[in-house]
């Protein structure tokens, strides 16, 4: 039984959300400084910022926080009491996640819920979260989601999908989780005009995505390029910082460390990046990836060759954040074109 879409007037947005927040913890884009935003749990709808461009830090944080306590421990003599922090108490809702970030969730699913071991921290959040997707009316010139199997209006992965019509949102209910919000009193049934307007916006957005990035067959291309001299030059300007990795919706490397105090402490996981020089440094002093050449190769191979080998999809959703925010203008589109020409 599929539900007809609804319309939510923007002036009712706050009231709509207040009602949602009675049941759900809402995670939405919040402006941290002018032009800088990230997903945060909000206390009131006024905190939300739905700028026309995407957030710097992706919505991946909602399932895989940058810094996450895994368990707490308390020592009493020789004994240690361990308490896991995996439980999710209230249902959650991610508001206004872009289709690229949502596509990334399904890629992260493959890593975190691989057959043998289930990452309970990620999965428990996933199970208890309703995802409200948000269409991109104005894709940026750096967006290439259509080259990675997505698109500015791709609904896959969303429980509810919003389209910004100007003074209202079109609200589509796509799954059972999404339908649970359809009884909200601030929604009214969408008119044919609303639906038509959304369709028109979708067509216009698609037209803007007209510069494809040649990703077809890149896994096979890279199979032959493991020791190609290409890697000797491509890494040169990379500073080896973590900007691209920490903003990337699909990167999932993490470090685990214990934060200890006198009688107890916690085990925490924090994001890490294979681009840091000490990432693969071993205690003996041996570093299997001693220079930027090996590290840049690792990152690119992982995204476009190793991950596809394991999970049949490339680990990139074309969000363009790495292009926008790299301090030295390392442009992955140029690298992919170069690989394609080899």
């Amino acid at each position: 039984m599929s539900l007809n879409p609804a319309t939510l007037d923007k002036k009712e947005f706050g009231s709509f959300l207040k009602q949602v927040m009675q049941t759900y913890d809402v995670i939405a884009p919040v402006e941290l400084a002018e032009g800088v935003s990230a997903y945060r749990k909000i206390e009131s709808p006024e905190e939300i910022s739905l700028a026309s461009h995407n957030t710097q830090k992706s919505a991946k944080e909602a399932f895989f926080p940058q810094s996450e306590v895994m368990f707490r421990y308390e020592k009493e003599g020789n004994r240690t009491q361990v308490t896991s922090t995996e439980e999710v108490n209230r249902p959650r809702l991610i508001l206004a996640s872009r289709p690229c970030d949502i596509q990334a969730f399904s890629l992260l699913d493959k890593v975190f819920s691989a057959k043998e071991y289930t990452d309970v921290y990620f999965l428990k959040k996933r199970e208890k979260t309703t995802i409200v997707g948000f269409a991109c009316n104005d894709p940026l010139s750096t967006c290439f989601c259509t080259s990675t199997g997505g698109g500015p209006f791709t609904r896959e992965g969303s429980d509810i999908f919003l389209v910004d019509l100007g003074d209202a949102y079109l609200v589509e209910f796509l799954t059972e989780k999404g339908k649970a919000l359809s009884q909200n009193e601030f929604l009214r049934e969408a008119s044919e005009g609303d639906v038509a307007r959304a369709k028109k916006l979708e067509e216009e957005a698609s037209k803007r995505m007209n510069v494809p990035v040649p990703l077809d067959g890149i896994e096979t291309k890279l199979d032959q390029m493991l020791e190609n001299p290409f890697w000797d030059r491509i890494h040169e300007k990379c500073l080896g910082c973590g900007a691209c990795t920490f903003l990337c919706p699909t990167c999932h490397c993490f470090d685990i460390s214990d934060e200890a105090s006198q009688k107890g402490g916690q085990r925490v996981r924090n994001w890490d990046t294979c681009l840091f020089s000490l990432y693969s440094m071993e205690t003996s002093g041996h570093n299997p990836r001693p220079s930027g050449r090996e590290r840049t190769r690792q990152r690119l191979m992982h995204k476009f060759n190793y991950f596809p080998k394991n999970f049949q999809k490339i680990a990139c959703v074309g969000c363009g954040r790495c292009i926008l925010y790299c301090p030295v203008n390392f442009d992955i589109r140029q690298v992919i074109s170069e690989i394609n020409e080899k």
């Binding site: 895994m70 361990v82 890490d272």
Partner: protein, 279 residues
């Protein structure tokens, strides 16, 4: 959903210094909960993440064999923060382990074949597990000849001296222990492992080789295996790489598309030939 990051509570039953330089110490750990002990099933080659709350975790090959019931043994090289703390831990103290993790030596493939084990230095830990397992009567009958070559820099650095003495006396295996340099009490062989291998000259036909040692030893021993005509698909090794989660999620220990913690640490050289030299 089982949380794979929560350690199994263990108690330290015994700690023993293995080497003269005191850098290698074996911990014997017992399970605190009976149901954990019952559920813990492992095969030689697998490893555990040893967990010291407040210090962190580090991966160690299981040195005891699944046939040695009641406890697990790990041999720790003192090198950094966690290992130094593991050297200081005392009997009766509680700690944690996560495991068994990783894959194992391909025991099923050894059936009806000869097994050649080559170990160097303190890489011998999981080889101890393998040898004791194979020597168990019901397993010994399934394998043909067992040859073990084990070398260390000097006699004081040999691990598991008691086991080595026992194995020397056995007639169902051949053990050659060698050192790079002897001392005044050493009556055994003196010679580098690759040269001793050449001397022993085991037949490669129908034989599987398992080799674990420091990179320098592997570098010079591997060509000797080639000369003896061992094919890559019958040479296995256990790799080490910096690890964190141990379950293939944190991304750190990958070699190409494979993870040392999940698809390894045991790899054949045929597999390694297709992967980047990322180790």
């Amino acid at each position: 959903m089982k949380n794979p990051y929560l350690p199994i509570p263990m108690v330290v039953k015994r700690t023993q210094v293995e080497t003269a330089d005191r850098m290698l110490r074996t911990l014997e750990l017992g399970f605190l909960k009976e149901e954990d002990e019952k559920a813990f099933r492992f095969v030689p080659g697998q490893f555990c993440e040893l967990s010291l709350f407040g210090k962190g975790e580090a991966p160690f090959g299981i040195a005891s064999s699944p046939t040695e019931k009641g406890s697990l043994k790990f041999t720790i090289n003192k090198a950094g923060t966690v290992t130094t703390a593991l050297h200081q831990i005392t009997e009766g103290q509680e700690m944690g382990i996560r495991g068994p993790l990783g894959n194992s030596y391909p025991i099923e493939l050894f059936q009806g074949k000869n097994v050649l084990v080559i170990g160097g230095g303190f890489a011998f830990t999981t080889l101890r597990s393998l040898i004791i397992y194979l020597l168990q009567p019901e397993n010994r009958s399934k394998v043909k000849d067992i040859t073990v070559i084990y070398g260390a820099r000097n006699p004081g650095l040999l691990l598991y001296k008691e086991e080595l003495a026992d194995w020397q006396k056995r007639s169902d295996m051949k053990l050659v222990v060698t050192v790079d340099a002897g001392d005044k009490d050493w009556k055994g062989k003196v010679g580098l492992v690759p040269n001793v291998l050449e001397e022993v000259g085991p037949a490669s036909e129908n034989t599987y080789a398992v080799i674990c040692g420091p990179p320098i030893m592997i570098k010079f021993t591997f060509p000797k295996l080639m000369t003896l005509k061992f094919p890559n698909e019958r040479i296995y090794t256990s790799l080490e790489k910096r690890m964190k989660c141990g379950i293939g999620k944190c991304g750190r220990c990958n070699i190409g598309h494979l993870y040392v913690c999940k698809d390894g640490p045991v790899f054949s050289y045929e597999q390694l030939g297709k992967l980047p030299k990322d180790y």
